[in-house]
């Protein structure tokens, strides 16, 4: 169905064409793009947002695009990362790197909890159960006012400077902030690419393509699903932690149903099951939101319309369609 996914077999073919070459060096190409990206954007803060949501969509795509499970509850993972990273700084005064580690870890734990309940159901139930559980997480954070600030959100996550190995970076400077976030995103590109190229990555796609055959081949389908859900949660937790540092507050809306829906839209707009597609989707979504809201407050109408057109006519998404066209 989706043959734009990476194939390990590509490395064994004798003559490379440029397409396979690009595929082999996808991390490098994506990283180069990320490094020059802020200079083609209207303003840097938007570029930082696109990076963060691109990472969020990347993590979501591991589950939706590569494993084929549609989750409508990823806001819970993104939001848990953001809140716990923020709480680590605001309530415990931890340094930024420890806070990010706590954000990622807590998202992994949350993904384990939600995942082990949700994968008990199959097929279409999965979307409904993840959405309901994410709603539950929303209420829990909403009511823990002492820790999360409840309706007002968690305020006062002030990270002014990034100190690393004796180097001192001014985190207030937008471009510095961009490259700090970008270094995490490039790291995530590398880790994701490694996961997908590993034998485990092949099993993930085998489960998507034919569950019965994967099971008959001796792979543990349930464990693969849970593991992928948890890994996806790790990426989303990292994105959430970076969002907390970037925004310096965590609004309660981060756990809202719309944050879950947004990432579904991004992944599908860009092209699910492609390496770089979710990033493209996040960029298109946020640029659309920014441009349309200059003209009308009802930007969701335009975004919803673009999404519906995409589902009807371009199910492979923007990046997926481009890849299909240019593939030699």
């Amino acid at each position: 169905m989706i043959d734009i996914a990476p194939t390990i077999a590509a490395s064994s073919s004798r003559s490379y064409n440029w397409f396979d070459l690009a595929k082999r060096h996808r991390v490098l190409l994506a990283s180069i793009f990320v490094l020059i990206f802020p200079f083609v954007m209207p303003f840097t803060a938007l570029a930082v947002n696109i990076l963060i949501y691109g990472l969020y969509a990347l993590g979501f795509n591991l589950l939706f695009g590569y494993l084929g499970l549609l989750s409508f509850g990823h806001a819970a993972l993104f939001g848990t990362g953001a809140y716990l990273c923020g709480i680590a700084i605001v309530h415990f005064g931890l340094p930024w790197y420890a806070a990010i580690a706590i954000g990622v870890l807590s998202a992994l734990v949350m993904a384990t909890l939600i995942g082990s309940l949700a994968i008990r159901t199959r097929g279409i139930y999965f979307a409904m159960v993840t959405m309901a559980l994410a709603q539950c997480v929303y209420y829990i954070f909403y009511q823990a006012v002492d820790w999360t600030g409840g309706e007002n959100g968690l305020r006062g996550i002030n990270v002014r400077a990034i100190n690393l190995f004796g180097l001192h970076f001014d985190f207030i400077n937008p471009l510095v902030r961009y490259y700090v976030v970008a270094s995490f995103v490039i790291l995530a590109f590398f880790v994701l690419s490694r996961i997908l190229a590993s034998p485990f990555g092949a099993v993930i796609e085998a489960v998507r393509e034919n569950e019965a055959r994967a099971r008959a081949s001796g792979y543990n389908v349930v464990a693969t699903r849970l593991m992928t859900f948890i890994l996806s949660g790790g990426f989303c937790g990292l994105a959430g932690s970076l969002a907390a540092l970037h925004l310096s507050i965590v609004p309660i809306e981060i756990l809202h149903y719309e944050t879950s829906g947004m990432v579904v839209m991004m992944a599908l707009l860009g092209g699910m099951g492609t390496f770089f597609g979710p990033f493209v989707g996040a960029a298109v979504f946020l640029l659309l939101e920014n441009l349309v809201s200059l003209w009308t407050v009802h930007w969701q109408l335009v975004v919803g319309g673009v999404f519906v057109v995409c589902v009807l006519f371009f199910p492979e998404g923007i990046w997926g369609t481009i890849l299909k066209r240019i593939k030699p």
Binding site: I124, Y125, C136, E258, H298, G304, V308
Partner: protein
């Protein structure tokens, strides 16, 4: 007298049943559409919201609540049929996720259109004069309107049951749910059946929105919350099972009202705990058939 007398608990039980009645109506439409079309309608909450606004619109045009009871399901159901015919139908046979994604995107458009037409802030919705006040139901005074909600739900359920079980068209619908291919071979236009089922399901959602309007007011986002709660109902009851939707809907309503009596801070979370328990013990729900959804 102690704070938690038997009468208070009994009254709270009735409040839960009235709340559950809304869940039942909402979930039954969802379940009907899924059972027949295998489409999870993520826009169901938006249809529910449109139902409430359609009621508001009819009242502002000089209609009254009783006209709305007939007019709203007709309007919303017609709209639902248009959506099925032109947006959902092209996606049949393209994988189970696509209609879900489409209806999800559609819900954004519907909510935004309502915001453009009616503004972003909410409206109150007056309880019809005839149904104001409270009546003595033996254990204490109970709002008449909530009693009416329970009664109206019962009427819809009985009507739906008679339609599905006692009419020849209902027979076709049930056959289509079991094996659409055989039904097609027998010369029935299945796509027309699906069109009507989608229309009925969304009409009931609009009706539920109208019934809920006097209880909680009307805002553009009213559909999103109940959608998540209705998913709990369908998971607990078993997707595609109407009996399951009824039982689980009432159960969820009672759990919400009881937990808001005994542990108010747990009220919102309690139904999700219920769902977690059901998932652990019986993943396919009370009445769900195992393996149906694979």
């Amino acid at each position: 007298m102690s704070g938690l007398s038997f009468d208070l608990i009994a009254l709270q039980l009735f409040t839960g049943l009235a709340l559950g009645a809304i869940y039942v109506l909402f979930a039954i439409g969802l379940s009907l559409i899924f059972g027949m079309l295998t489409v999870v309608n993520f826009a169901h909450g938006a249809f529910y919201m449109v139902g409430a606004y359609a009621g508001l619109f009819l009242v502002s045009m000089g209609g009254n609540f009783w006209i709305c009871l007939v007019g709203v399901p007709l309007l919303v159901g017609t709209f639902g049929m248009i959506v099925e015919r032109f947006l959902v139908r092209p996606l049949y046979g393209r994988g189970i996720d696509y209609p879900l994604l489409l209806t999800f995107g559609l819900s954004y458009i519907m909510i935004e259109l309502i915001r453009i037409a009616f503004g972003t802030s909410g409206y109150p919705f007056d309880t019809p004069e005839l149904l104001q006040g409270a009546v003595d139901i033996g254990v204490g005074y109970f709002p008449l309107y909530r009693l009416f909600v329970i009664g109206a739900t019962a009427v819809v359920l009985i009507g739906l049951w008679l339609f599905l079980e006692r009419t020849s068209f209902g027979l076709v619908i049930r056959a289509g749910a079991r094996d659409p291919q055989i039904v097609r071979v027998l010369g029935v236009d299945v796509s027309r059946v699906w069109l009507i089922v989608f229309g009925i399901g969304t009409a009931i959602a609009g009706f539920a929105g109208l019934l809920a309007a006097p209880l909680q007011g009307v805002i553009p986002e009213m559909g999103a919350t109940i959608l998540a709660e209705a998913f709990v109902v369908t998971v607990v009851g078993g997707m595609g099972s109407i009996g399951g939707a009824v039982l689980a809907g009432l159960l969820v309503g009672v759990v919400v009202s009881m937990s808001s009596l005994f542990a108010p801070e747990m009220a919102k979370v309690s139904i999700f705990a219920l769902m977690a328990i059901v998932l652990l013990i019986r993943p396919q729900g009370f009445f769900g058939r195992a393996g149906l959804m694979s």
